[in-house]
């Protein structure tokens, strides 16, 4: 968490090398996943992005059917064939708590879903390729409170089986969802700690100010 423009998204997008897509990007340092530096030039970026899935701020389903949105990742990574694709799609949609709402309309266009449903569809799409880590970039910022509550419920479920890295500018959300919390400001990591410690006894003055609402 951190105020706008502090580099939360940039940091998040470094973890699956999405920043590579931006022209004139310069990346220094290292990011280790299971001890391997993913910023090294030997990294297979495609394999990396399969292991590290991402959900964006605004729901961005493909202009395809609900089914095809989920099946896309399964197909391109050849994770399943024929009928098994169907069962995988169902599994992913169930995992994202979306199955009951869409099971009768899988061939409808994904844009016919509500914003909250679209965002859960994007999460299902991400989980269908069975990543180890899921990156979420302010996934609830475009959603209404009800959809946000459902999304958070889902994320609490998912964090039992996945490593989740979530960016948020919503303090309560960070407190509710996370085990560990990092506070960023102006491109700098100010503080990183267990969430309850960071929220109750911040060590840095700036963290304290942010938490008490003096800025942000």
């Amino acid at each position: 968490m951190g105020p706008s423009g502090c580099g939360k998204s940039t940091l998040l997008r470094s973890i699956n090398r999405m920043n590579d897509l931006i022209a004139d990007t310069r990346i220094t340092g290292s990011i280790l996943i299971d001890g391997v530096d993913i910023l090294s030039e030997h990294t297979d970026v495609i394999e990396l992005r399969k292991r590290v899935g991402m959900v964006f701020q605004k729901p961005n389903p493909f202009p395809k059917s609900i089914f095809e949105n989920i099946a896309f990742g399964i197909r391109i990574h050849k994770l399943a064939q024929g009928l098994e694709i169907k069962s995988r799609v169902e599994k992913a949609l169930r995992a994202a708590n979306l199955w009951e709402e869409v099971k009768m309309r899988l061939s409808d266009n994904a844009f016919s879903l509500s914003g909250g449903q679209q965002q859960r569809l994007c999460i299902a799409r991400c989980m269908a390729v069975e990543p180890e880590i899921i990156l979420l970039d302010e996934p609830a910022s475009a959603l209404d409170p009800h959809s946000t509550a459902r999304l958070e419920e889902l994320l609490r479920e998912l964090k039992k089986s996945y490593t989740i890295v979530i960016v948020t500018h919503n303090l309560q959300q960070a407190a509710r969802l996370s085990d560990y919390c990092a506070f960023l400001m102006l491109g700098e990591l100010i503080e990183f700690d267990r969430t309850e410690l960071l929220f109750t006894t911040p060590k840095d003055r700036r963290t304290e100010d942010f938490l008490s609402g003096k800025f942000g």
């Binding site: 999405m18 605004k58 961005n60 990742g73 799409r125």
Partner: protein
């Protein structure tokens, strides 16, 4: 406030006048073509002095397989060979130019950045503005002889050369319009695909192209229009025998070339003269039909893909 309202009203009038003017010109062209064209099918004022200037029969015009209006005493006015000439050359052009053009557009839109992109666009747009006579020269002196040697046929002035020349001419149109269509595909689709571990190739073919397909269709339609309406270049390389082609290496004559070749050499107000306007009208109908088909395809597209 009143002044603003007045200006608003005046500007509205100016736009309305422009719209009416444009529509009038279009309708005027149509009426002109039609009024001249139909006279080919009625007795001409010269019928008394020249026995060969009998009116053209509509059935003969639409279904006749011989176009030979100059034959003394026995003129024939069948447009089938000309229609086939236009359609087959255009078909060859599109078969070559559509895959090549769309692939180039994908490359330019998805892979090139910054100055490379701008350079590529400038060159292609320059090529789009090339005078067609120059491309005709190229077809006549370079492409024709090359294809003749390649396929070991006596003359390079044939259907194939005409098709390839037309492909060259419609390529820039197809590339630029497809490129524009690809550029308006939201970046979030690309991000979504890349974040799932899709390669650039898969992203382009499975996500971006389908998302841009109505724009790509527009590009194909414009390419079709360019090819079917092209006159000069195709006239220079097609061989211009108004016969039904039996192979890729037979000469053909298109509707447009026929009008260009014959209009200067016919006597005014003869059935031959008027029949050329009828040809023009047919061309107009083809263009109109293509546009309507494209339009209805867009509509269907919109219905199935609204936000």
């Amino acid at each position: 406030m009143n002044i603003r309202k007045g200006v608003d009203r005046d500007i509205r009038k100016v736009f309305l006048a422009n719209a009416i003017l444009a529509a009038t010109v279009l309708v005027g062209i149509l009426v002109f073509l039609l009024s001249y064209g139909v006279r080919a099918f009625f007795p001409s004022p010269l019928a008394f002095t020249d026995p060969s200037s009998r009116p053209v029969k509509v059935s003969e015009f639409l279904t006749g397989t011989v176009w030979n209006p100059d034959a003394y005493g026995q003129p024939s006015y069948g447009i089938i060979p000309l229609l086939l000439g236009s359609f087959i050359t255009t078909l060859i052009a599109l078969v070559i130019a559509v895959p090549l053009g769309v692939a180039s557009a994908v490359f330019i839109a998805e892979r090139l950045k910054g100055w490379q992109r701008i350079t590529a666009k400038v060159i292609i747009e320059l090529f789009a503005g090339f005078p067609s006579v120059i491309i005709g020269f190229f077809g006549l002196l370079v492409l024709g002889p090359f294809l003749a040697r390649l396929f070991n046929v006596p003359s390079g002035l044939n259907l194939l050369t005409a098709g390839v020349t037309l492909a060259l001419m419609s390529l820039p149109t197809i590339i630029t319009v497809s490129d524009d269509a690809l550029l308006v595909v939201p970046n979030s689709y690309r991000e979504a695909a890349y974040a799932l571990g899709a390669s650039p190739w898969i992203t382009a073919t499975r996500i971006i192209l389908p998302a841009a397909r109505s724009g790509i269709l527009a590009a194909v339609m414009l390419g079709f229009g360019r090819a079917v309406g092209e006159t000069m270049a195709v006239l220079m390389v097609a061989g211009n025998a108004p016969v039904i082609p039996r192979s890729l290496f037979d000469p053909v004559r298109t509707i447009t070339s026929t009008i260009a070749i014959e209009l200067g050499e016919t006597a005014f107000n003869t059935p031959h003269f008027f029949s050329l306007f009828a040809l023009g009208f047919i061309l107009f109908i083809i263009a109109l039909a293509t546009n309507l088909i494209a339009e209805s395809l867009f509509r269907r597209e919109k219905r199935s893909f609204t936000l």
